[in-house]
């Protein structure tokens, strides 16, 4: 019996393979070749077209290559160097890694940096003194942290910050000479607007455009060409006193607050406040103004915004922590509901 069934099985297989069913065994087995449903074929076509259309860009390729590798997570400094659980130093000679960080007065931090760059040691002239500031970027809502921002910060005592800022000033004709003497690359009135329209002045040669309010209607005609360089009140590139604007744009210090990729609630930035040979009091005054200016962008919530400040001097690796709470003014929290005070009975 077994052999007989095998023969039948083989023969049926053979018939199916060569599609002989219709001619030989039309009555015995039912094989139907209907068309597939309309929608399924369309779906398949769409899938095919999508795969062809998606061409990999360079960024995608890099991401694909990174997927297999282990990506290192960069932790913020606040989590890496957390020294508050450590004990305070008691001896006159001690190892730094066991104890809390020393909190220096500002003047001592500068003097310590001056020792390192003394002519008998490393002998480096005029390095920048910078503040390494750490922020708590928590917003009013828990899910929405403060976004990274960039600011131009005013300072009281000027110094050469080393950045090249090419400024185009659009002003009334009386102020042209004074502005060019003060440091603007090019200054002019309505004729500049015409030149930009014709293309004889290209805006690629300038970083910043400042303007007087009186000429605003003419500037609006070239709004499409200016794009992001359009003067605004918020960016302090538009105003009544053009000389003041120019001085602000030329001499102020840039501060860009960044956040960590995996930790959006932790922010950091480095701001230079002067050179090392400047007077210590001048450096301290610059620092005060910068901190006051940064505190304006604090969200309306309780808790601190600036968490830690260290004074650094870039070629050297030394960092000196200072007490930042001395320089932050106490904020008044708006308490709308005041407690009713019980008056004594007469």
């Amino acid at each position: 019996m077994a052999s007989a069934t095998r023969i039948i099985h083989n023969s049926i297989n053979f018939i199916h393979r060569y599609n002989l069913s219709t001619c030989i065994l039309s009555g015995l087995s039912q094989v139907r070749h209907y068309a597939a449903r309309k929608s399924t074929r369309e779906k398949a076509r769409k899938k095919k077209s999508l795969t062809i259309m998606k061409k990999l860009t360079l960024a995608d390729k890099i991401q694909k290559s990174k997927k297999n590798k282990v990506v290192q997570v960069i932790k913020p400094d606040a989590l890496r160097y957390f020294d508050e659980s450590k004990p305070a130093p008691t001896d006159d000679v001690y190892l730094g890694r066991i104890f809390k960080w020393n909190i220096y007065p500002f003047s001592e931090a500068i003097l310590n940096h001056r020792e390192f760059f003394h002519p008998t040691m490393y002998d480096y002239k005029d390095p920048y003194v910078q503040l390494l500031i750490e922020f708590n970027m928590k917003g009013v809502k828990k899910t929405k942290p403060v976004e990274p921002f960039k600011k131009l910060l005013n300072i009281k005592h000027k110094f050469d910050h080393g950045e090249e800022r090419r400024i185009l000033a659009i002003c009334p004709p009386e102020e042209e000479a004074a502005l060019e003497a003060a440091g603007a690359l090019h200054a002019g009135g309505t004729n500049i607007v015409k030149d930009i329209m014709s293309g004889s002045i290209s805006l690629d040669n300038f970083d910043i455009v400042i303007a007087n309010v009186k000429l605003m209607p003419e500037i609006l005609t070239i709004r499409g060409l200016l794009k992001k360089k359009i003067p605004t009140l918020k960016a302090e590139t538009l105003g009544g006193n053009t000389l003041k604007l120019l001085n602000h744009q030329l001499n102020s210090v840039t501060c860009s607050v960044k956040t960590y990729k995996d930790f959006p609630e932790y922010g950091y930035s480095t701001v230079s406040i002067g050179t090392l040979d400047m007077d210590i009091n001048h450096l301290e005054e610059n620092m005060k103004i910068i901190i006051d200016n940064l505190m304006l962008s604090k969200p309306k919530r309780s808790g601190s915004f600036i968490t830690r400040i260290r004074v650094i001097c870039p070629p050297s690796n030394e960092k000196f922590k200072i007490n930042h709470n001395l320089y932050i003014k106490e904020e008044k929290i708006n308490t709308e509901i005041e407690d009713e005070v019980a008056l004594p009975l007469e």
């Binding site: 001896d91 000679v93 001690y94 190892l95 040691m121 002998d123």
Partner: protein, 251 residues
């Protein structure tokens, strides 16, 4: 409710009912507890509690722990395996204290602070690289060494440093890599000799010395010939022993 059995604290678990039991009604003699009354929250497991250290009395001198007759406190496993089993120490019971009374009183060399032991260990074996300028004239002073210590993460006051008797003046490239020693006193009690090595340095790239890989491992002898005895007696840094072993294997 939370309850604690008095006496032994071995593998206790303190629990709390998740849902409280209902109160008795009027004229109730007893009632059955419901199923949900048997759910509990774990408050504390005494096995996971941190166990206290053990007090010991040393019967022999042991490096970096103390001398004979010292009273020390250690973690349990460390104390059992490394001290009590080999017989280097005994429990600090009142009977043992009486027994070893004569030793305990006779030794009075306690450190000025509990952190001094680890510091001494580091300072004895370290080799401080003293970075000085290659172009300008200098004379080695106390604050130079203070700054060089600070960059390594060791904080020193100028009072605690005693300089070598002879002055060291530079720049002198013949002294590159030569050794001398200074003394550091911790809390005006413990005194350590620290090995130092001179190195010339600049920020001008044209004036820099030719690059030598791992220059800090090469010593060019003593700066003052009379110090050689002291320097040879000082323990060498760990990587130098390793370096010598490596050379031996290569041969």
């Amino acid at each position: 409710m939370a309850a604690q059995i008095q006496g032994s604290q071995h593998s206790q678990r303190i629990l709390k009912r998740k849902y409280p039991v209902r109160l008795f009604k009027k004229d109730d003699t007893h009632f059955e507890l419901r199923r949900k009354n048997f759910y509990y929250d774990l408050i504390e497991d005494t096995d996971l509690r941190k166990k206290p250290n053990i007090d010991l009395i040393l019967t022999k001198d042991i490096e970096s722990y103390g001398k004979k007759g010292d009273k020390i406190s250690l973690k349990r496993l460390k104390a059992y395996n490394d001290f009590l089993l080999p017989g280097l120490a005994v429990y600090a019971t009142p009977e043992n204290i009486q027994k070893y009374m004569s030793i305990v009183i006779s030794t009075e060399h306690q450190h000025s602070s509990k952190y001094a032991i680890e510091l001494l260990k580091v300072l004895e074996k370290c080799c401080l690289i003293v970075n000085m300028n290659i172009d300008n004239h200098w004379k080695l002073e106390k604050w130079h060494i203070k700054v060089n210590f600070r960059t390594c993460g060791i904080y020193v006051t100028e009072k605690s440093i005693t300089m070598p008797k002879k002055d060291i003046i530079g720049p002198n490239l013949q002294n590159e890599g030569k050794e001398f020693y200074i003394k550091v006193t911790i809390n005006e009690t413990e005194e350590v000799k620290v090995r130092c090595r001179l190195h010339h340095v600049t920020t001008v790239p044209e004036h820099q010395l030719p690059e030598i890989s791992e220059f800090w491992k090469i010593s060019n002898g003593a700066l003052f010939p009379e110090d050689e005895k002291v320097l040879n007696a000082l323990p060498r840094p760990k990587w130098e022993d390793y370096n010598i072993e490596k050379q031996m294997y290569n041969c």
